[in-house]
């Protein structure tokens, strides 16, 4: 640990410089916010006295009404701008026959279409007094809230149980053991997964709850993580922060060309159902927040390779400056070679990029009385090897490892989107 070292002159300058620019950005953010509200309110709002409460209501209504298409080339929830909330759940099948699995996948596919459109998955109030409500009701009338539901198949789905071995994507297997892991079996693996993202946490929770309920005789929930704040940015979004206080996802995959090169699977999986799909890697990362919080700012910034407030690389001035890994200050690398950004940068990894789509999570205290909180890291890539190569490097030498533990892990094959109503995920398996 190097936090006894004095803060060097460079990071001290960055720190003060950063404070100034964030104050400006804060003001800019306020102006933007007001502008956004006005745009929603339209011309009428311009002529009226400022009414922040009404602006908030209009924004909330717009956010509630937001709906992403369910049918298409790719599943939603991958290149969709990250919503504010996540419920990630991995399931194991208790079903033993292909017919039961088929029914689960068909039921889920139809129910996902309904819920992403903001509709219940059956009667909230059945007409008959003895009827049990089909939909549990807690998201009734709340609107779609930008809900996306992304379904994945774990490597274990293709084992001997359902006779699906011939449908397994080429080289699809559990992630190899890597340095820096302390995996808990309770947060590892799964036959199926659902990534539910929405602007409202209750809408995301409702979706997963109802999917689990309608498949209760065939599927059991293996693990679940509730993410309360996005920790990655889409193209037009302001970069959010992880629980360490640093901006996360500044240099994310963005734009169609990047997605085609790094995220969407083509023919290489050897399975038609994967063409247009992707691979999801989930890592539940426990942050040792209390010790991190006591680490001096110079060390924190040096660990990440960026300033804390602005998020600028230590070789530059502002967040989106391209990091210069050769820049030196007083004969030392401005961005330490074992900093997080240096190890993860595509420039230093043969061009490898992954789409990060993680969320911050918290779940009370852990068994030894520390905050149980961290990052629910989710990445999408056209080959899980992309993640493995990066994580091998990070796991063995990332200075961040002192403050994080990977406690959960899973990989899922994400089938291509459904072309139209009447199709369902995995239909090819049961032809």
């Amino acid at each position: 640990m190097s936090n006894e070292q004095p803060v060097d002159s460079l990071s001290r300058r960055r720190f003060f410089g950063g404070a100034g620019s964030v104050a400006a950005a804060g003001a800019g953010g306020l102006i933007l916010g007001a502008g956004g509200a006005t745009a929603v309110g339209g011309a009428v709002a311009n002529a009226q006295e400022p009414n922040p409460a009404a602006d908030v209501e209009r924004l909330q209504a717009a956010s509630a009404a937001l709906s992403y298409p369910y049918y298409g080339t790719h599943q939603s929830g991958i290149d969709t701008p990250p919503q504010d909330h996540l419920v990630f759940t991995a399931f194991d099948l208790s079903a033993t026959t292909p017919t039961e699995l088929q029914l689960v996948l068909a039921k889920w596919s139809a129910a996902m279409a309904e819920m992403t459109a903001g509709r219940p998955v059956g009667k909230v109030e059945p007409g008959r007094e003895q009827g049990v409500p089909v939909d549990t009701g807690e998201a009734f009338d709340m609107g779609p809230q930008g809900l996306t539901l992304t379904l994945g198949f774990g490597p274990s789905l293709f084992d001997a149980r359902f006779g699906l071995a011939k449908f397994a994507p080429i080289d699809f297997a559990n992630l190899p053991a890597m340095a820096g892991e302390a995996l808990d079996p309770a947060y590892t693996g799964g036959d199926l997964c659902i990534q539910a993202c929405a602007n409202d946490p209750q809408v995301a929770y409702h979706a997963v709850r109802n999917l689990a309920r309608m498949a209760r005789t065939s599927v059991k929930t293996k693990w679940t993580v509730l993410g309360f704040g996005r920790a990655s940015a889409g193209p037009t979004q302001k970069t959010p922060r992880n629980l360490m206080g640093f901006k996360d996802g500044t240099r994310n995959v963005s734009g169609e060309a990047d997605f085609a090169e790094h995220v969407w699977v083509g023919e290489e999986a050897g399975q038609p159902w994967m063409k247009g799909g992707s691979y999801l890697v989930a890592r539940k990362i426990h942050m040792l927040i209390e010790t991190w919080d006591e680490d001096p700012i110079g060390d924190q910034q040096s660990v990440f390779g960026r300033t804390k407030q602005e998020g600028a690389p230590l070789s530059g001035q502002s967040e989106h400056d391209v990091p210069d890994f050769h820049a030196t200050v007083a004969g030392k690398a401005a961005i330490a070679p074992d900093s997080h950004i240096a190890l993860a940068a595509h420039e230093n990894n043969g061009g490898t990029k992954i789409l990060r789509r993680g969320y911050n999570f918290t779940d009370g205290l852990d068994s030894v009385g520390r905050l149980d909180a961290g990052l629910m890291f989710i990445s999408y890539q056209k080959n899980p090897e992309q993640f493995v190569a990066l994580q091998r490097k990070l796991g063995s030498s990332d200075r961040l490892n002192e403050y994080i533990r990977h406690v959960g892990s899973a990989v899922f094959a994400i089938p291509a989107g459904l072309p139209e109503a009447g199709s369902y995920y995995g239909k090819d398996f049961f032809a």
Binding site: S94, A106, R119, R216, T217
Partner: protein, 413 residues
């Protein structure tokens, strides 16, 4: 275990009055829904009469999007009296997943899991002449009129009513048998307690419990009786006297001492079980049980398993929770078995699913049997709970999910 909220679940406390209110509520909700989902012929429906082949009139119902709205489209709107087979499939309507044939509110036949992309499924019902409805919950037009021409038909839907009646009568006899056994068992418990023999009393306690646990929803339907017999210490109102099985359990298994109070508790149990016998006999002789009461009781017993047994709260001193657990399951399965002949007619797929889930549960519970243990099952220790509670929960939830659906199907409305 007893609590106020679950007590009225099995049966309305005052049948006449509450049933009247329920009917009114139903009538109101029917009016309410009629305005949004009225009865009418669905778009694209064929007005003709279905012809008979394979011994039944053949009707197909296509669930599909019509002008962007989920609809149920039958190819015929009438059939001659006699057996009618409805073959249903879902082309692309993700908001509809079941199709029912109704006579007023009674479900005569139905298929669930009518999901886009899956192959067609069918059900056959034998119908008298009259007017019926094809009901597709969630469709733009939920109810479509279906007319059956001609007169009465041999083996018609009335057969289901007869089967349900036979089922409820059979269940009444089952309850009477359990209560009689309970009367004998608590008398033996009192004798053991009066003799001051703690070990014999523990045995007699374990022997008596299952008779009560199998019919607990019936006992719970009598407002004061279940709290007097089966209250846990946590549910005792401040200042109220704690009576029944559980304070006795505490004396026998925790302090392991029989006092005058212990003897009074045993005597109180005998008195209250005597009252239970009188009330259940009276009930059987008057209104009897309704099919939906059996169904709700079957599901209610599984709720008991989840809320009190898996948590280890029910038999906190004796650790006999798995004995109660198995008795709850048995009681639930009995209620289901009495409904099964009729339920098979109404929804054979669901009936098969429930039977298979009962098999799974029974097989799993057999692994906990221990002839050496008090009550015949392993004590539910903290260690056993820590290792097995989650899988037991999953087991029971998988049974309760389909079982909770049957009340609606057998309800006499």
């Amino acid at each position: 275990m007893s609590n106020l909220s679950s007590r009225s679940k099995f049966r309305a406390a005052t049948p006449g009055l509450v049933a009247g209110t329920a009917l009114l509520a139903l009538a109101l909700s029917a009016c309410g829904s009629a305005s949004t989902s009225g009865t009418g012929a669905a778009a694209g429906g064929n007005a003709g009469t279905a012809s008979v082949s394979n011994g039944a009139a053949q009707v197909t119902v296509s669930v599909e999007k019509v002008n962007g709205e989920d609809q149920c489209v039958p190819n015929f709107s009438s059939a001659p009296a006699g057996p009618v087979t409805f073959t249903v499939s879902n082309k692309d309507a993700s908001g509809v997943s079941e199709v029912e044939l109704l006579s007023d509110k009674r479900i005569l036949g139905e298929r669930e899991n009518v999901i886009p992309g899956l192959k067609a499924v069918s059900f056959t019902v034998t119908l008298d002449g009259g007017t019926y409805q094809i009901y597709c919950p969630g469709a733009g037009t939920e109810k479509t009129t279906f007319t059956v021409t001609g007169g009465a038909s041999a083996g018609s839907a009335n057969g289901v009513s007869d089967q349900l009646k036979a089922g409820t009568e059979g269940y009444a006899k089952y309850v009477a048998g359990q209560v009689d056994s309970l009367v004998t068992a608590v008398a033996a418990l009192q004798t053991a307690v009066d003799s001051g023999d703690v070990a014999a009393s523990q045995k007699a306690y374990a022997a008596a419990r299952p008779f009560y646990e199998r019919i607990e929803p019936v006992a719970e339907s009598f407002p004061d009786l279940d709290p007097a017999l089966d209250l846990r210490v946590a549910d005792v109102e401040p200042g109220a006297k704690w009576t029944g099985f559980h304070p006795l359990e505490k004396d026998l298994f925790e302090s392991k001492a029989i006092t005058a109070d212990t003897k009074a508790l045993a005597a109180g149990i005998v008195t209250n079980v005597g009252t239970l016998k009188k009330l259940t006999d009276d009930l059987a002789a008057s209104d009897g049980y309704k099919p939906e009461e059996l169904a709700n009781g079957a599901s209610g017993l599984l709720e008991e398993v989840q809320s009190a047994k898996i948590t280890g709260e029910e038999e906190a001193y004796s650790k006999l929770d798995l004995v109660d657990f198995v008795a709850n399951i048995e009681g639930s399965q009995q209620a289901f078995e009495y409904l099964k002949p009729a339920l098979t007619q109404i929804d054979s797929g669901l009936t098969t699913e429930i039977s298979s889930q009962f098999d799974t549960v029974n097989k799993a519970m057999a692994a906990y049997a221990d002839p050496e243990a008090l009550g015949g099952y392993k004590p539910y220790t903290a260690e056993l709970k820590a290792s097995d509670a989650a899988s037991l929960t999953q087991l029971i939830q998988s049974l309760q999910a389909p079982l909770a659906k049957i009340a609606e199907k057998v309800a006499t409305v």
